[in-house]
C-alpha cells in the first residue's frame, strides 16, 4: 500500500491575485490537475496564482473542502451546497468558471459551465444579450436575415430577462 499519507500532513500556500495567502492541506488541491502536477513534479510549497482574485479563491477552496468531505451519506447535502455555490451574481460565476478552467478541476468546471448554460437556456436572444451585456453589432438587415435561417421548431420561447 502507498503510505504517502503517513507522518504529518503537508501544508501548501496559495497566493491569490491581491497577494492574500491561503494555507491549506496539500491533499485538498490534488483535485486540481494543474496544482497536482505542480506539487508532484516540482515539490513547491507555495504557489502564486496572480490571475485569480482572492474572493474567487476563497469560493474554490470552500468547494474543495466540501468535496473532500463527500461520502455516500451526505450526497444530498453536497448537492444543495453545489446549487448554492453557483447561485451568485453573474460576474462572480464567470470569475469562478475561468479560474476553475485554469486550475483544471474537471467536475467543478462541468458544474459551472452548466450554471452558465442554464442562464442562457430558454431565453430570447435579446434577453441573453441583456444578461451577458453582449452588444449586437449586426445591422437590422443582417439580423433579420440570420433569424430566418433559424429553424422554425426553435421558435416560441419565453422572453425572460430575470436572473
Amino acid at each position: 500500500m502507498a503510505s504517502s499519507t503517513t507522518g504529518e500532513k503537508k501544508i501548501l500556500t496559495l497566493k491569490g491575485g491581491d497577494n492574500e495567502e491561503f494555507i491549506l492541506e496539500e491533499s485538498l488541491v490534488l483535485q486540481s490537475e494543474l496544482l497536482k502536477n505542480m506539487v508532484k513534479e516540482e515539490r513547491v510549497s507555495s504557489i502564486p496564482l496572480p490571475s485569480i482574485k482572492s474572493k474567487t479563491l476563497v469560493k474554490i477552496i470552500e468547494y474543495l473542502k466540501k468535496h473532500a468531505e463527500l461520502t455516500p451519506s451526505n450526497k444530498e447535502e453536497f448537492k444543495n451546497f453545489e446549487k448554492e455555490f453557483v447561485n451568485v451574481v453573474l460576474e462572480e460565476l464567470l470569475d469562478i468558471t475561468v479560474a476553475v478552467n485554469y486550475l483544471k478541476i474537471n467536475g467543478l468546471l462541468e458544474f459551472c459551465c452548466q450554471a452558465v448554460a442554464d442562464r442562457i437556456k430558454d431565453k430570447s436572444v435579446e434577453a441573453v444579450r441583456k444578461i451577458f451585456r453582449i452588444e449586437s453589432d449586426f445591422t437590422p438587415e443582417e439580423e433579420s436575415e440570420f433569424r430566418k435561417e433559424t429553424p422554425e421548431a426553435f421558435e416560441g420561447d419565453l422572453d425572460d430577462t430575470t436572473n
Partner: protein, 411 residues
C-alpha cells in the same frame, strides 16, 4: 462589459454542449463574433428532450429541422447524438442520410437511441466506417454484410436492446483497442464473437446466455459485471465450466459482480465442490444473493473464499425466508468456510431484512475474516425497536476472527 464572449474557446464549447441545441443555435445571432461559433461546434447533440420538442410539430418539421441543423454545420463533427426514445417514429427515411452525413464529416463518437420505438435497422455503411472511437446503440438491428468487420479505433462500445440478425456463421467484430464494452438485453448474442485484446471493462446484462469464451484472452480485464436477469433452465455443464475458467483465469481482474441468476446457474447441482484459490488482483467482489435458494447460498460460500486477495465484499441479500429449512439446516451445520479470507477488510450487507439465514450468513463471515475492519449492515426497512434490539443482540454475540472488526448497523 461582455465577459462571456471573452471566455476561452474550450469553456464556450463546454457551455454549448450543456444546453439544448435550440439555445445553442440561438447564440449565432447574438453578435458578429458569435456568428459561426455554433455552426463550427463539433458536437451535435439531439437529445431526448430536444427531439421530443421538435416532434410535437408535424413530423416533417422534425425532419426538416434536423436537416437544417446538419446542413448549417461547418467543419468536422466529432460527436453526434440522436435520441429518438421519446419520438413516435414513423418510417423516417432521413435517418440513414443523417448517419451517412455525419460519417462524411468524420464523426468519432456516435449515439443512436431508438428505445421505446421501432427497432432501427442500421445502414450497412456503418460497418465499414472505421473512425469511430465511441459507439452507443439502443434498439437497433445489427446485420453486417460480411461476417467479419472491424473497428480499429473503437474504445467504447455500448449495446442495448440490439438484435443481431441470425447468420449462418458467427459475426466476428475485431476491435483491437476496445476498452469498455457493455451488452444489455441483446438478442442473438450467441453468434457474436468480439475480438478485443485490450478490453478492461466488461458489463453484461443478458436475457439469455452469452458465450464468454471470446473474452477468455482479454488479459487486461479489470472490471467484470455479469447479470443474467432470469433463470437458465438446464444449464449446460460446459457453459458453467467456461464461465468459471473465465472468472478464475483473468490475471488483472480487480472488480467482479455476479447477479443472483449467475450464482444459481453456477450453483445448480452438480457444481464443482473444489474451486481453486486464486491470488490475482481481485479486490472487490459484489454479489446479489437469494438467501432462500440453497444452491446459491452454498455456492456463494464456496466461491467467496476463492479470492485470496479480496479486500471488500458487498452482498445484496434478498428473498430471505425464516422458513427455508434446507438453507437454515445447511447454514447451521456449517461451522466454517472452506478457508479463511485473509485479506478481506470490509463487508457490506445490503438490503438486510433481519432474518435467520442472513444472521447465520453474517456469523460465518465474521468467523472467516481474520483481518476484517468493518462489517456494515444496511437495513432494507425500518425495524421495530424490539426487532432491532433482538437483531443487534444477536449480531454482537457472534465471535469475530478479527480483533479489529467493527460492526456498523446502518439505516
Amino acid at each position: 462589459e461582455d465577459r462571456l464572449s471573452e471566455m476561452p474557446g474550450n469553456i464556450i464549447d463546454h457551455i454549448l454542449d450543456l444546453m439544448p441545441i435550440k439555445d445553442a443555435a440561438k447564440t449565432s445571432i447574438l453578435a458578429r463574433k458569435w456568428r459561426y461559433i455554433w455552426c463550427m461546434h463539433p458536437n451535435i447533440l439531439l437529445d431526448k428532450l430536444t427531439c421530443r420538442k421538435f416532434s410535437t410539430n408535424p413530423l416533417l418539421v422534425l425532419d426538416n429541422t434536423i436537416n437544417q441543423i446538419l446542413l448549417q454545420h461547418i467543419g468536422n463533427i466529432i460527436k453526434f447524438v440522436l435520441d429518438f426514445s421519446q419520438v413516435d417514429l414513423l418510417p423516417l427515411t432521413n435517418i440513414d442520410m443523417w448517419i451517412r452525413y455525419v460519417i462524411t464529416k468524420g464523426v468519432r463518437d456516435l449515439t443512436l437511441d431508438f428505445s421505446n420505438n421501432n427497432p432501427y435497422k442500421l445502414p450497412t455503411y456503418i460497418y465499414y466506417y472505421q473512425n469511430l472511437t465511441d459507439l452507443t446503440l439502443n434498439n437497433c438491428l445489427f446485420k453486417p454484410l460480411d461476417f467479419i468487420f472491424s473497428y480499429p479505433n473503437l474504445k467504447t462500445l455500448y449495446l442495448k436492446q440490439i438484435t443481431f440478425m441470425a447468420t449462418p456463421k458467427s459475426i466476428v467484430l475485431k476491435a483491437p483497442v476496445l476498452a469498455n464494452l457493455t451488452i444489455m438485453y441483446c438478442w442473438g448474442t450467441e453468434s457474436l464473437n468480439i475480438v478485443s485484446p485490450q478490453l478492461s471493462y466488461l458489463f453484461v446484462v443478458e436475457s439469455h446466455y452469452l458465450d464468454l469464451s471470446c473474452f477468455m484472452k482479454c488479459s487486461n480485464l479489470a472490471v467484470v459485471s455479469l447479470s443474467l436477469c432470469k433463470v437458465v433452465e438446464n444449464p449446460r455443464q460446459y457453459e458453467r465450466s467456461t464461465l468459471l475458467k473465465f472468472i478464475f483465469g483473468l490475471p488483472m481482474l480487480e472488480k467482479l459482480y455476479l447477479d443472483t441468476f449467475y450464482l444459481k446457474f453456477l450453483g445448480e447441482d452438480p457444481f464443482p465442490r473444489s474451486l481453486p484459490v486464486v491470488r490475482n488482483c481481485l479486490r472487490h467482489v459484489m454479489l446479489s444473493l437469494a438467501l432462500s435458494n440453497l444452491a446459491q447460498v452454498s455456492f456463494a460460500l464456496h466461491f467467496i473464499p476463492c479470492f485470496h486477495n479480496s479486500k471488500t465484499l458487498q452482498i445484496w441479500v434478498f428473498d430471505s425466508d425464516n422458513h427455508a429449512d434446507d438453507v437454515l439446516n445447511y447454514l447451521e451445520k456449517l461451522k466454517n468456510l472452506d478457508r479463511p479470507i485473509p485479506n478481506l477488510e470490509q463487508v457490506v450487507i445490503r438490503c438486510f431484512n433481519g432474518s435467520k439465514p442472513e444472521l447465520l450468513f453474517i456469523k460465518l463471515l465474521f468467523a472467516a475474516t481474520p483481518n476484517l475492519i468493518r462489517m456494515s449492515i444496511e437495513r432494507d426497512r425500518i425495524f421495530t425497536s424490539n426487532e432491532d434490539r433482538k437483531i443487534t443482540g444477536e449480531l454482537m454475540r457472534y465471535p469475530r476472527a478479527s480483533s479489529k472488526a467493527e460492526l456498523f448497523y446502518l439505516p
